[in-house]
């Protein structure tokens, strides 16, 4: 029963059904003041010629936002020059991207068709142009497919994983100037979600710019010369260096994002200027983004809160934490800004990962005993943790998905996560840990005291604080906890080699999944999941190293994951997600503590159109990405006038 299910991603949610209104709106386009002079001089074509024939028309009032006014600039902070790539996540112009309800919508694409997750047809916007004015066409997709991903020197590792389904690569076709198609033999449900990730894989590249740097089109000798001058080994390295769409390191590289970088490192301030050819307009015919320039100042991370308090930033989220809230609130009135408090989306702020694949046989046996894991979870007083560490504002419970996810069920959070030391003690007795030694600490079967060394990434303070409290709780049930802070790289390498017994680190990165997102964090397929590094290694290396999954419940997770990857049926995907979440809540492969810390976001008064409440995460919200910072604007005349700088 093959149901031919054609999903049409009609040009993004917030707009109108037909094209008629689009043309009506295009009739009264308003030139952006920032470009007015250049247009008058003939340096830039007028707006009507810069926009695609069918731009993305954003209906702001329909989404409860205001129609803005163009102009001005906004300043934010980064801790080091490389961090300018976080702007790419915040800008969030993607082929397909999530909207605020986490539904996939066409964005750069005009629309796309998806047949059973096997055949994906992408329709570009006719007349869409790169930031340098060159047309953006199917050729740019072909260039990536054949000359970047398909070139052994540029991509020695071959096609990226998400483009491969059951070992098969897709067939790529250019249908016409503005249409491309990828066809897989088996379903590839990872394809679209990967394109919507904060770290865009960019399956299109500005061919017209990069061809000059490519051996196939340019003069090879000249290229090798250039490469040698830049101290690079080959033309391919040079190509790779100049072709970094995500990192924003090359000001000459054309872009499709709302702002493009104007200067290169080393610099103390990076300036991003609006892209004259950006594809979104509001319903009154003004091109987005509203704000002309984004300034990123490089400032030591320790000063972020102080500088925000002094009113020196216009918008800042990344780098501030819950501990900064009092300082931020204190400066609000005097320095004219407001502090929005959004919720973090994380499975758990700190979770404990008993290593099922640890080398030591005694610990391995214990970690694999579900009663032991449940006992450790029941012995944690999460309410005290919450009050002591996060002002009582967090959610207490397992490492699982958050309320805002359509997959949320309260039992996933509460099962085996209540505070019940008596039950915990009973479970530990059942496991065979009933003998006690000095200080009432339980003894392992081999006579050693039950002293769990929990290794923790030394850079995160909250984890250490949490562990110190858990030490007290566990002592009550006769379990001794020893905290061992480690440098991050050392910790990872120890875990991969089976050296760790238990690790404390953040819970699920994506706590707001929809059924269409890939459940890879829940399955034993990644070695950086501290519950089963060796199983993950086995999956990542296709069996070359690590260990095969050798527990029925782990195998079940793996099977569910495989099934998810091979189905195009959304109902089945939802069912699989629930099965996996339920298994996690029951098996406690990771022991969650408290979730949903608040993320302060400092926004200058007058800079508006960012919702008061929202969710902050890397995945899936792409930091502020899905809330569309290109729609923010200055509601103050004085800030819209670009200062003479």
């Amino acid at each position: 029963m093959k149901r031919r299910d054609v999903l049409k991603g009609l040009a993004a949610l917030p707009f109108l059904p037909g094209a008629s209104r689009a043309f009506a709106a295009l009739g009264d386009l308003q030139e952006t003041p920032f470009f007015a002079e250049r247009v008058a001089n003939g340096e830039l074509p007028p707006l009507a010629e810069r926009l695609p024939k069918s731009p993305l028309i954003v209906d702001l009032p329909a989404r409860g936002r205001l129609i803005g006014k163009p102009g001005g600039e906004m300043t934010t902070l980064i801790a080091r020059a490389r961090d300018i790539h976080y702007l790419t996540a915040n800008e969030y112009a993607r082929l397909v991207g999530y909207d605020e309800k986490l539904q996939l919508q066409a964005d750069i694409l005009e629309r796309f068709e998806n047949e059973d997750d096997k055949v994906f047809t992408f329709h570009l916007r006719p007349g869409h142009k790169w930031s340098d004015g060159h047309p953006f066409t199917a050729e740019d997709f072909r260039y990536w497919w054949e000359d970047v991903a398909g070139n052994e020197e540029i991509s020695p590792t071959g096609l990226p994983e998400f483009m491969v389904s059951k070992g098969k690569v897709p067939r790529f076709e250019v249908i016409d100037e503005v249409t491309v198609r990828y066809t897989w033999e088996n379903p590839n449900p990872r394809f679209l979600p990967t394109l919507a990730q904060p770290r865009d894989p960019f399956i299109y590249r500005p061919a017209h710019y990069l061809k000059d740097l490519h051996e196939r089109y340019g003069d090879k000798e000249k290229l090798e010369d250039l490469a040698a001058k830049a101290k690079l080994k080959s033309w391919a390295s040079l190509h790779n260096r100049l072709d970094d769409m995500f990192e924003n390191t090359n000001p000459a590289l054309p872009s499709l994002q709302p702002w493009r970088v104007m200067n290169a490192a080393p610099a103390g301030r990076f300036v991003f200027e609006r892209n004259p050819y950006y594809h979104r307009v509001d319903t009154t015919g003004q091109q987005l983004p509203y704000v002309d320039k984004v300034m990123l100042d490089v400032v030591s991370g320790g000063l972020f809160a102080a500088k925000s308090n002094a009113g020196e930033v216009d918008i800042l989220a990344r780098g501030l934490s819950m501990a900064d809230i009092p300082v931020l609130k204190q400066g609000e009135a005097a320095n004219g800004y407001r502090t929005l408090l959004w919720r973090h989306a994380r499975g758990s702020e700190v979770a404990l990962y008993p290593n099922l694949t640890t080398n030591n046989p005694v610990w391995r046996k214990l970690n694999r005993d579900v009663r032991y894991r449940r006992a450790l979870s029941l012995a944690i007083d999460r309410h005290t943790l919450n009050r002591a560490l996060l002002f009582g504002l967090a959610k207490e419970g397992n490492n699982t998905v958050g309320e805002a996810s359509p997959l949320f069920r309260s039992e996933y959070r509460t099962r085996w996560a209540t505070y019940d030391p008596a039950a915990a003690s009973k479970l530990l007795d059942e496991v065979g840990l009933s003998k006690r030694g000095d200080d009432r600490v339980r003894l392992l079967p081999d006579g050693r005291p039950l002293e769990i060394v929990v290794e923790v990434d030394g850079e995160t303070g909250l984890a250490v604080d949490t562990l110190e409290l858990i030490t007290e709780f566990w002592r009550d049930v006769g379990v001794k906890l020893f905290i061992k802070p480690q440098e991050r790289t050392v910790l990872r390498n120890r875990a991969y080699a089976g050296g760790t017994v238990m690790v404390a680190t953040a819970g699920f990165d994506n706590a707001l999944p929809t059924a269409l997102m890939v459940p890879s964090e829940l399955a034993p397929v990644r070695q950086d999941n501290m519950s089963w590094p060796k199983w993950g290694q086995y999956a990542e290396t296709h069996g070359k190293s690590g260990e095969a999954v050798d527990m029925p419940d782990g195998q079940r997770l793996l099977d569910l994951y495989e099934t998810w990857l091979s189905t195009a049926d959304e109902a089945q995907k939802t069912a699989i997600w629930h099965d996996m979440l339920s298994l996690h809540a029951d098996q406690l492969w990771s022991i969650g503590t408290i979730a949903g810390a608040l993320q302060p976001i400092v926004v200058r008064n007058g800079l508006i159109n960012l919702p008061k409440e929202g969710i902050y995460s890397w995945e899936p919200t792409s930091l502020l990405g899905i809330y569309r910072i290109d729609e923010m604007f200055w509601d103050r005349q004085d800030r819209r006038v670009a200062e003479a700088r």
């Binding site: 300043t75 998400f162 100042d297």
Partner: protein, 338 residues
């Protein structure tokens, strides 16, 4: 004299060679390399290709070669992919983090560092020498005790804490922006009167903070040196013969008391570059300190190596200068021995 100089230069070269080896080995000591660090970050950001890319990049950067080979290439006695090109040839290496030659990365920072630290040195000397002289000739007076008290407070205050407090109040009272060496809008702007003014305003706090402990130490030392000399017979004789007190003081004991300071130039020169790492970090100054720390943390080996080598060269040169100056200042010291 010439023979002495030649011998000194020879030992300097050997010293630098040993230092370069030490520097390189120590940078390479922590497990992993630049790429393992990057890898962890890429994985955290969900770049699925990270692990596979790493091997390729490692080869590209030459990190797959043995450590001794990387070292020999770095100092330039072994040919790399583009021939002999290392410190000896004036090629300072490549910064992985910035993807740029090292000299482009440290260029601006180096001279801003010098500006900050030259101001600090001037501040330290201008403030501490008069106070020291005054408190030495008025030993055990209330003003001596006051200077001593303030000096000890200056020595005992953790300067990063002082930096934070001063930054906050300078911003509240005078509206000077927090951190950095000038207001943000001047960062990429060409030099102008306004930019220099902004620089001057922002120099106040770093100079005070970095200089305070130095000042305190200097007052104590200068005072002690002077006190040693003040009781000596030549000074008493000079005064008895009717030399005016100030002239007698400056001409004889003060000159003697300067000896240890000249000997100190060897430390002062490298201090100009590396002396303010912690404070620079706290105050977010665009100087060499934060770059060095970041480079060490991410194992950006050639960048870190270059900065450390630069400091080493300054130390060695500083030592030479101070030896030569001592001989000139104090005729009792003779070079070349025997």
């Amino acid at each position: 004299m010439i023979r002495y100089l030649a011998r000194r230069f020879l030992t300097m070269l050997v010293t630098l060679l040993v230092i370069s080896l030490l520097v390189f080995v120590i940078i390479k000591l922590p497990p992993g390399d630049f790429l393992t660090n990057q890898l962890a970050e890429l994985i955290a950001q969900g770049d699925p290709e990270a692990t596979r890319k790493a091997e390729f990049l490692r080869q590209q950067y030459g990190l797959d070669r043995p450590v001794w080979e990387q070292y020999l290439r770095w100092i330039g006695v072994m040919p790399g992919p583009s021939g002999y090109s290392g410190l000896l040839q004036g090629d300072w290496g490549w910064s992985f983090e910035y993807d740029k030659p090292v000299n482009q990365v440290v260029g601006d920072a180096l001279w801003l560092t010098l500006v900050v630290n030259v101001f600090v040195v001037i501040f330290v000397h201008v403030v501490s020498i008069p106070i020291a002289i005054y408190s030495a000739i008025r030993q055990y007076s209330w003003s001596d005790y006051l200077a001593t008290l303030i000096g000890y407070i200056g020595l005992a205050t953790p300067n990063f804490l002082l930096a934070l407090i001063l930054l906050y109040y300078m911003n509240r009272w005078f509206g000077i922006s927090i951190g950095g060496l000038y207001d943000a809008q001047y960062t990429n702007a060409p030099w102008s009167a306004d930019k220099i003014k902004s620089l001057a305003q922002h120099l106040i706090v770093p100079t005070l903070v970095i200089g305070l402990s130095g000042t305190a130490a200097m007052i104590r030392r200068m005072r002690a040196n002077l006190l040693d000399e003040l009781g000596k017979q030549y000074y008493v004789t000079a005064k008895a013969k009717g030399v005016p007190p100030m002239r007698a003081l400056i001409k004889y004991p003060f000159r003697m008391a300067l000896n240890p300071f000249v000997a100190d130039i060897g430390n002062l020169l490298p201090h100009l570059v590396s002396g303010s790492v912690l404070v620079s970090l706290v105050m977010s100054l665009p100087t060499v300190g934060p770059i060095l720390l970041a480079a060490l943390k991410s194992q950006d080996q050639f960048l870190a190596g270059f900065i450390l080598m630069f400091v080493a060269v300054l130390t060695v040169i500083g030592m030479l200068i101070s030896d030569l100056m001592l001989a000139w200042l104090d005729p009792r010291i003779r070079l070349g021995g025997k």
